[in-house]
Symmetry: C2
Subunit: 450 residues, 2 copies
Amino acid sequence: MNLLIHGGTIVTMRGNEIIRDGAIAIQDETIIDVGKAGQMLGKYASGYEKINAKGKVVIPGLINTHQHAAMSLLRGYADDLPLQEWLEKWIWPIEGLMTAKDIYVGSLLTAVESIMGGTTTVNTMYHYKPMENEAKAFAEAGIRGVVGHVCFSWRRDEDRRALEDLAKNWHNKAGGLIRVSVDPHAPYTVDPGYMKELYALRDEFNKKYGSERAPIIWHIHVAETFNEAEKIKKAFNVDVKGGIMEYLDSLSVLNEHVIAAHCVALTDKDMAIMKARGVKVSHNPISNLKLASGISPIPNMLERDITVSLGTDSPCSNNTADMFEVMKVAALLHKGVSGNPTVMSAQQVLKMATLDGARALCWENDIGSIEVGKKADLAIINFEKPHLCPLHNEFSHLVYAAKSADVETVIINGKIVMENRRLTTLNVEKVMKMVEKAKNRLLEKLQAQC
Amino acid sequence: MNLLIHGGTIVTMRGNEIIRDGAIAIQDETIIDVGKAGQMLGKYASGYEKINAKGKVVIPGLINTHQHAAMSLLRGYADDLPLQEWLEKWIWPIEGLMTAKDIYVGSLLTAVESIMGGTTTVNTMYHYKPMENEAKAFAEAGIRGVVGHVCFSWRRDEDRRALEDLAKNWHNKAGGLIRVSVDPHAPYTVDPGYMKELYALRDEFNKKYGSERAPIIWHIHVAETFNEAEKIKKAFNVDVKGGIMEYLDSLSVLNEHVIAAHCVALTDKDMAIMKARGVKVSHNPISNLKLASGISPIPNMLERDITVSLGTDSPCSNNTADMFEVMKVAALLHKGVSGNPTVMSAQQVLKMATLDGARALCWENDIGSIEVGKKADLAIINFEKPHLCPLHNEFSHLVYAAKSADVETVIINGKIVMENRRLTTLNVEKVMKMVEKAKNRLLEKLQAQC
């Protein structure tokens, strides 16, 4: 299908470019022209389905670089608790009861919620199951995703089988919508030897299933809390002195294909290493605050020109998949904590949620900005709302005032997946019913155990 | 009009009470019964317009205790700037050009945005003009409000006239919807003598126009930034040593009718004085972060049992009037900053935005909870949304997952002011057009000056 979006304001994310009364022509999944509506309406008069975007703002779809999509089932299940109690008494016992079907259903819900909030790409880390899984859910929802399998020292054989199945069946599949990743859980749950092994495995899979343009990446939690060095010492009797990134670098597992989530407790040396190796960051301010993990030194990393993207983390520690909220909190938090209201400008934060998100996933050749040759991943936002009135500056409104509910139409890979807030790919009511049922099943199983 | 809301889940804010399949009967402006739908549908079968709230959650309307409603005209006009440059080069020059009509129009917009986000009471401080003003706008929108006039040392006579007109014409008017306040701007812009005078003036007006149940309160910015003592010294050559509240107490201007906005830079002694005098707090976390003012010691104040409510501050430093956002940021921020994920629980934060908001405005006899005898100020929230699915806990969802756009129907003083997201009191499209026109007029005047 060919599309012409016309009449809206286009925020391309090529620098600070804003095209008023602009147009975007899309052929199949690709953007083939971007310019002024006046000229393009004539040029693409026939053969293009028209979307009138008057009064609306078109942005590149938002890119959520850290999720555990299946965990939406646990949204609001346990809050306001100390971290270890939260994990050990609440989250892990119920997670242990989740079936492949539950993972699939939870991921469907996250896909729906993401699309409805203008997010077009999600990087998710969870337990991969061959028959029903996050990749299947994302493909059905029509959302772009990097789907990983999370690895732990205690289940190497199972991990190896899951990773092989995932890479073989899902990398660069579903019309290019789905890519995969190798996901060591964290430096304190993956021992040094296994860490190196997983690094080698990513190389091996990449040669078999990946390409330079579409690499299989490495997705890992790093330095989420300040006691990570202690946890590594306790688990593997390894002394981490200069910082967690320095430790990982000593294992030779850092390169430009690594995306590190959280990066709260970093040393200066860590940041120098990240810059040198090209490691990308997923910043999750809402989750870090909610779990009281700490505040990541984002302005410092930005000064060093490290690529920083944004993530929601799971709906279990957020409790939504809303990237508009994450943008606003990211912009606010670092101003308040640094005492400097000029850091994290609206434009910079929007870049973190779009182009830098694409860079963090090594997908910037295809997504992250509205440019000829890129895939058409777009969110059309209705600006005719009281809270977006009056209009002084689009960047400001997109970060400080717009809400996920203002997203009206979403296009992913050239396909309209939401039109006037109705999904075209899934029956949302049905998904919600499946989720409530899955939740009830889980709670019953949990009760039966007690 | 009499109303019966039935079938929904009622979060009354009487402690942790939740009534599933509940009902609320409203006669004229007052709640006359709260209970289970089964019994009440029979009891109030005739003479009551029915609102079916199945799948929805009913809460007391949110109470925003710090606003400058007219400043919505400047939403997104200037962001990400150092505070003094922001004020002196951007905000004050354009504010100086605002007419009474602009103030009225901006306040209409804030009223609309507030109602659409489930806020039923707004405490606003701005320049009062006799003919067109915030009170008139609020009354027309049907929103409850405390409307103040902001006082400065440099305009005593003008202030006196404005306050007299405001108190006489608006206190306890519009069917009891509007109350008024005396608003010394801040300790660094109101000299010690004038501060005392304004305190005496509030007493005088209270005797003339107020009552014990409906007092005229005192609304003031206190300790918004860490250099306030310095600013007081510079302006009035007064040495503030123990803290800003201690200074105000030395003027004998603190009592239980005082609501202090911000309270970022407080000493322990300040907090002890606030507790002793019964001073109430309006916490504005989004504005404080955005302007990099600092982080208020809220958990410390809560431990001392000081009444802390929540505010958005103006849409110029936020940039919305969204109390759901404020609740979420308040809950998150203090966990992250204190390193303690158990502070500011969802239930406590919802109380700050409802019952404690009412207390902060000395209005708790009438609003802030769903109880027989109180005014019917209610927000009905549609919980059948993907981001509110599954449902484990209503308090958690209300603070961490619900959004202003989920508010479906709003009742203020027993009157339906929004039904299925359509306002019944104002033409929203017309208000938005008036705002855009007012903005353009302001920018033209500003350009003409340059």
